[in-house]
């Protein structure tokens, strides 16, 4: 069996490992800790701003990458992306992801912005604001990461296509799973896995909601990797409810993490959490083993293929040192920094910061390449935000790149074996 070491357990790493395991490879994911899915709001962004708000991501992408040959989508837009999203929809079926490349939804954020995204779990997609909507934002008194009045206030001023408008008001529910004024979202979510708890919250919601309104709630309606708690709550409350992601940790991202790690285990994949990849051994242009540092020592783990999915700056997949140099610390790969050199940071917070797009450059089989464009190792691939050229949080492109790259990396490995 082909042995594949996947380094990193974020969305790209898990997608890649799962696809490989399904394809019959012997996969081990090595990850320094839990992957970054806990921090992501759970939507699948493909392209949200380019830089104007994108209505049809599939259509916009073609022209967009033509103008940006250095962008990860230059290798992924079109068939690889479409196949990957179809596959993902199947894998994530228990969360019932809706939406596609044809049109972006506009989902409310906790700050009351109508935010474009391509796909979202059913519980979030229920809040799609296109065409206007009457909503009541309902906060939870002990949850400090969601401000319903502020959300409603901004949503009333949100710019929607076709001059559609949102009618919004707000309320606060007092139900809480534990005593005290400060209860974090994951305690709410775990408690709401139990029908008894849902009954308590639903009773309050019934008294709040008016006919024709959609309830916008913080995305804490159940921790399990399914849409069950949300559906049940809608039924009990007698009104449509839409989940709005809060500050991290974001429960919808955690659900997706749970779903993918379980599926990986069931498909025979292995996860080794804790150790750090510190290098590779290889010769003749091919890697033989990944060097992994565990509690006591560095050991060489034999591998036929390696996928690097350690993320961007946010997770230490790429590092900026105090002298301004950018490095890829795990395997020491060549890094493409900000185009045109320089520091690549703008003077204002919401400026463009080209430095943040730094990462490794890859070929059409997602193999990291050196300055001349040649693959550094024949059997090494990169997936996710370690690939240079995107600022995902700005473009709203992160999950699309991660899923497409993870899936594509797995497919090219399976083709090679």
């Amino acid at each position: 069996m082909t042995r594949v070491a996947v380094i990193g357990a974020g969305l790209a790493g898990l997608v890649c490992a799962l696809r490989l395991a399904q394809g019959g490879a012997d996969v081990t994911v090595f990850s320094r800790g839990t992957g970054g899915l806990h921090l992501t709001p759970g939507m699948i962004d493909v392209l949200g701003y380019a830089p104007e708000r994108v209505e049809a991501p599939g259509e916009t992408l073609a022209g967009w990458v033509a103008a940006r040959p250095e962008h990860p989508y230059a290798q992924l837009a079109g068939a690889p992306l479409e196949e990957a999203l179809d596959w993902f929809r199947g894998v994530a079926a228990p969360l019932r992801y809706g939406g596609d490349l044809a049109a972006n939804m506009l989902l409310p954020t906790a700050a009351g912005v109508a935010r474009p995204t391509a796909m979202a779990p059913a519980g979030m997609a229920a809040g799609d604001l296109r065409g206007g909507r009457r909503v009541v934002a309902v906060g939870l008194r002990a949850l400090k990461d969601f401000f319903p009045a502020y959300l409603a206030d901004n949503l009333r001023r949100a710019a929607l296509p076709g001059g559609a408008a949102v009618e919004a008001r707000h309320a606060v529910a007092t139900w809480s799973p534990r005593p005290g004024a400060d209860v974090q979202g994951h305690y709410f979510a775990r408690a709401l896995d139990e029908p008894g708890a849902r009954a308590g919250l639903a009773a309050e919601l019934r008294a709040i909601v008016e006919p024709g309104e959609t309830v916008l709630m913080p995305a804490v309606l159940g921790m399990r990797a399914s849409a069950e708690a949300w559906e049940d709550l809608c039924e009990r409350a007698g009104a449509p409810i839409a989940e709005v992601p809060t500050l991290p940790p974001c429960i919808p991202g955690m659900r997706l993490n749970l779903l993918l790690t379980r599926a990986l285990g069931e498909a025979g994949g292995r996860m080794v959490v804790g150790p750090e990849a510190v290098g590779v051994d290889g010769s003749g242009g091919r890697i033989d083993a990944v060097r992994i540092r565990d509690a006591a020592r560095v050991r060489a783990v034999p591998a036929d293929h390696v996928v690097l999915a350690t993320g961007g700056f946010e997770s230490g997949g790429v590092e900026l040192d105090s002298y301004g140099a950018v490095r890829e610390p795990a395997l020491g790969l060549p890094v493409a920094g900000p185009p045109g050199g320089g520091r690549g940071l703008g003077p204002r917070h919401l400026d463009e910061h080209p430095l943040m797009a730094a990462g490794v450059r890859v070929d059409d089989r997602l193999r990291p390449v050196d300055a001349s464009g040649a693959p550094v190792w024949g059997n090494l691939r990169a997936a996710g935000s370690i690939i240079a050229g995107a600022v995902p949080w700005r473009e709203k492109s992160g999950e699309g790149i991660a899923i497409a790259a993870g899936h594509r990396a797995a497919c090219t490995i399976l083709e090679d074996t």
Binding site: G33, P249, G274, E276, A295, R297, G316
Partner: protein, 411 residues
Amino acid sequence: MAHPLHDAVRGSLDNCVKCTICETYCPVSAATPLFPGPKYVGPQAERFRGEGPSPDDSLTWCSSCGICTHVCPQGVKIAEINSIAKAEMAAERGIPLRDRLIARPTLAGRLGAPVAPLANRLARNRLVRAAVERAVGVHRRAALPTWAGRTFQSRTRLRRQPPGRPGERPAVVYFHGCAANYYETHTAEMAVRVLEMQGLDVIVPRQGCCGLPLQSNGLYPAARHYVRRLAGSLAPYARAGHDIVSTSTSCGLMLKREAREILDMEDDDDLRAVSGRMYDICEYLALMHERGELRTDLLTPLDMEVPYHAPCQLRGHGVGTPAMDLMRLIPGLRPRQVDAVCCGVAGTYGLKREKYDVAMAVGEPVFGQVRESGAELSVCDSETCRWHIAEATGVPSVHPVAMLHRSYGLG
């Protein structure tokens, strides 16, 4: 307290990006609002600790299970920061007699072993346990081990080979720890037989306590003394090229990493030599399998489903779940990993009168899955977790080598 936090531990708080992932996994804060969570008491509170009295009390609810460090994607040594801060607080406020007693398993082991039948009867007597709870603070229902009578050490005189002597077969050192010496001698016997089955000679040098219970109860100077003594007795073997294999995940981890980081013993040459050669037994056997050296041909079928709990301390090794990989090699055996992070006992935490209820609440998801499995036994690498799980569920719990032992037809 004069002990400066080691840079590798305290300095790691710089890695914290406040993502809160650790708190979503913390089994203690999930079970009780008394514990505000590892981020709060760890990298967050640590910035407010300096000269003067310890400012925070909620820290005492941390069980030191280590899950937080394990899941942290940024490399913050959260559990280690908390352990050191707890020890400083304990040193400043005084360490209760109870903690000093349960921190010395060798003492209880030595006292109980010669009178094992009596000791075991007393340990299971309700009146005695109620009196012990009142007098010392060990919870009356907390799981205590069963004394074995003769220690494993006293039975294995024949395996006292000196380091480096060339034998016909490669030799490994077996580090049994206190639990397998005084209580679970059968686990030690099985481990030796399974290792021998692989064509290895097994050396069992004299060895004492690794100091982990002392460390987790804040008795750092004594813990360092124990570590030095133990490392001193194992180091000659490590230097002579023998691997050291342990059936105690927590004691093995202590010698691999925790003593170096938490007790600030990075400079101890003996310990470094031992760390580099220390393996958990399942890790060791799985690596042998990876090299094609494990005798899978001799494994006979075991047609059964067993729930397996990967203990917190095993996660700290960073080697995945080799027990699952090994059990999957046994024809017919269907190991199912329990979907919960911690059984609650966390070494000595669950023994304490004031912590017992929290420990039981932490472990409930594990207990529930073990009970619901309907299996005749459950599997877990760590001895204190096994005792705790067995006591809470009524289902016997064994070390993974017991499954190999059985499959090899050794008994």
